[in-house]
Symmetry: C2
Amino acid sequence: MLTYNFTNTGSDSLYAYLYKCIKNDILQGKLKAGEKLPSKRSFAKNLGISVITVENAYGQLMAEGYIYSFPKKGFFVSDLNHSGVQKQPVDMNKVVLTGGANAYTADFTSNQTDHHVFPFSIWTKAMREVINENQTQLMRNPPCGGIMELRQSISRYLSEFRGMQVKPEQIIIGAGTEYLYGLIIQLMGSQVVYGVENPGYPKIAKIYKSMQVACEYIDIDEEGVPAKALVEKKIDVMHLSPSHHFPTGIVMPISRRYELLGWASREKGRYIIEDDYDSELRLLGRPIPTLQSIDVSDKVIYMNTFTKTLCSTVRISYMVLPADLTEKFYQNLSFYSCTVSNFEQYTLARFMENGNFEKHINRLRNYYQNKRDEILSAFRREPLGSYLTIMEEGAGVHFLMHVDCEKEEDEIVREARAKGIKLMPLSKYYYGNEVKYPNTYVMNYSSIETEKLKKAVTALGQIIRGVKESKK
Amino acid sequence: MLTYNFTNTGSDSLYAYLYKCIKNDILQGKLKAGEKLPSKRSFAKNLGISVITVENAYGQLMAEGYIYSFPKKGFFVSDLNHSGVQKQPVDMNKVVLTGGANAYTADFTSNQTDHHVFPFSIWTKAMREVINENQTQLMRNPPCGGIMELRQSISRYLSEFRGMQVKPEQIIIGAGTEYLYGLIIQLMGSQVVYGVENPGYPKIAKIYKSMQVACEYIDIDEEGVPAKALVEKKIDVMHLSPSHHFPTGIVMPISRRYELLGWASREKGRYIIEDDYDSELRLLGRPIPTLQSIDVSDKVIYMNTFTKTLCSTVRISYMVLPADLTEKFYQNLSFYSCTVSNFEQYTLARFMENGNFEKHINRLRNYYQNKRDEILSAFRREPLGSYLTIMEEGAGVHFLMHVDCEKEEDEIVREARAKGIKLMPLSKYYYGNEVKYPNTYVMNYSSIETEKLKKAVTALGQIIRGVKESKK
């Protein structure tokens, strides 16, 4: 009869050990398909263990299909019909990871939030209160568009600060705007032609392509995208950043806004996605009113995010759908679970309701204004200053910097990278061959550590001025 | 000259008020396109305000494009080319919201987590520690697949508890499995035919359809999906729940597992998605080993979630990609930001590392075992008991309940709903016309409040036994 030695069972229980022994023998072919196993009673007696132990081991082997039973006849080994090949370990050497550790002295391409500016203690307090007071609600599955408390807070915020009258039901919350674009594509269907601004935020086109829908680049002029080009390229849904175009910084004038709203209203399936990604961070004058607020034909999908105003690593964004699309959303897509954790939704709602969000934005604006001034004055100082022209520094957390020197753009980027400075040329945001605005850089400064600024400016100065580093 | 009254500026600053007055006059056509505005100096003098105030108002109007300037000539009203229609408020009456408030005495269709079982204090402690100790890391954008600390914790967990040897780089974290399915579709491309189990978890097919990719239903037999049917329907990627089929509870036997792995290995583009959604909650015996752990040809995409083990409203799921798809993922999809907040990723990593997750799962298993026993004994008690047959109660947080009575399924569901009990018939999980297993219900018990159980059982008994409620 089959026998096993129980002296080295390790941390396993007797039944688990017996299960593993038998399974192993089946996998290695020592026990053949169809072979009859000992009866529970005689096996137990033979091994000196209880019948229950054998029963449990047989039960687990049955559950996994290694053995089967015939009533009154006993237990038999199944036909596994497998090759017995051993699993090979995976070779991960080819895999390139992105993101994570920040090895740069100054990374002017990152949208990361400076940890000095995140309101850790107020945020933690709001979360603690939520966890103490709302345990039942925290466990309750939210509607697909997000918890009503947060949507109401956002609705009030949009009314007070952006002059927009929208119902909480029109607001759909999601884990980042990238995710919300995916929902829009599912809402619109795959036969639609999407337009993106050229130059523009490159991720939008990447998402459309990854989702395999048609996407056309529309060249902007000095006022933004012209309606004529949308007609020519047969665009159905146009992505715009009218309050602060990325990366050029253009504010779309009101006449162009009406022109584009007119374009959208002339055909049934036309929509504009208004990406208002950093309107809160306008550092000069009042915020620019939204396209949504002057849209009378319900053609604008408004999109905004807390990744700029709170931090890039808390993933909460939202979109405001026009009435017809709101209805379609609930009909077609309400089976989706909301992608943002209830804990963070309730915390943000509380943070907004008790006025902390408004205070935080004011603090943020001051902080970035000072940071920008500090960075700009470091860049403008001689001898580097006379090589540089700074543009579009009045809004958001980036400005444009033109470098007047004989080195090529690629050379400057490469040399800067070697010295721990990451730069992104404006030309890289253009799709197509024609290089516009050479030697101009899009300078994101949100994550720059001012303590390392002097070092970065000195290094950049040496590169641009062509000075050899003295080695001693 | 143009003039305004500054006695009722409300909470506006002088410049904001002036800006609004002029903008209003332009929008209402009182100031016509091309009309010249007063010079800053004379306008200021006339209104009795400072030149700076006029300058700021003009600046904002210029930024928004309501006016333009010609050097040395002054400021002029832009041609807005708009119709002047007023925005209509949105009619939201037609919009039906789903989710949110729970109005049922007993909802046997909900996967919500009972708030008694969520480890609020331990979770909060872990989050507090993370916020105190990791502020810099919390602000750092994670790799697209999630923070390495959490992926390492998951890798160790899979090794210890599921016998799976996977590298952290193969693990991709996302805000719910629904989101991860979207990534898989983008990874595979739109030419692929997806297979889903019939019956099965209905959301999977909904996602495939919403994303407009081909999706076929594969009928299961008593061991699960047969390989032959996959060949016939030309499936490329098959979704399976082998450890615990939803909703029938079938555990796929080892022979069928090898048969399906064989199917996958015979053609290059074939893959299996192994949905291991509730393997941690097996209440009888040991957990069933995964398909991934016996897959030698790297054909299994393993998918699991913390929405069952932690709670349904913290949206953290993950998938384990085979080597070739891992490489493709980093090449094609690494531009996406991870959809889970850093705060919750770091908290979960800490929760797993200090052993709390393991303890929590053991507690959870005991809790659900007791809860299930309490619910089943209430159902089995006479007079209701003799009408019911309970099946598949050994795993997960649902069981099957067959009702032996003359009433039709629809009638029982309707009458139960009227009494505050939500039931889901097994037949509803089948695609197609043939009704299998009539009068059998899939009973999710995770969110049932045991205090309300007696009331629910009495009401259900009256419906099933056809007893009229006595009214006095």
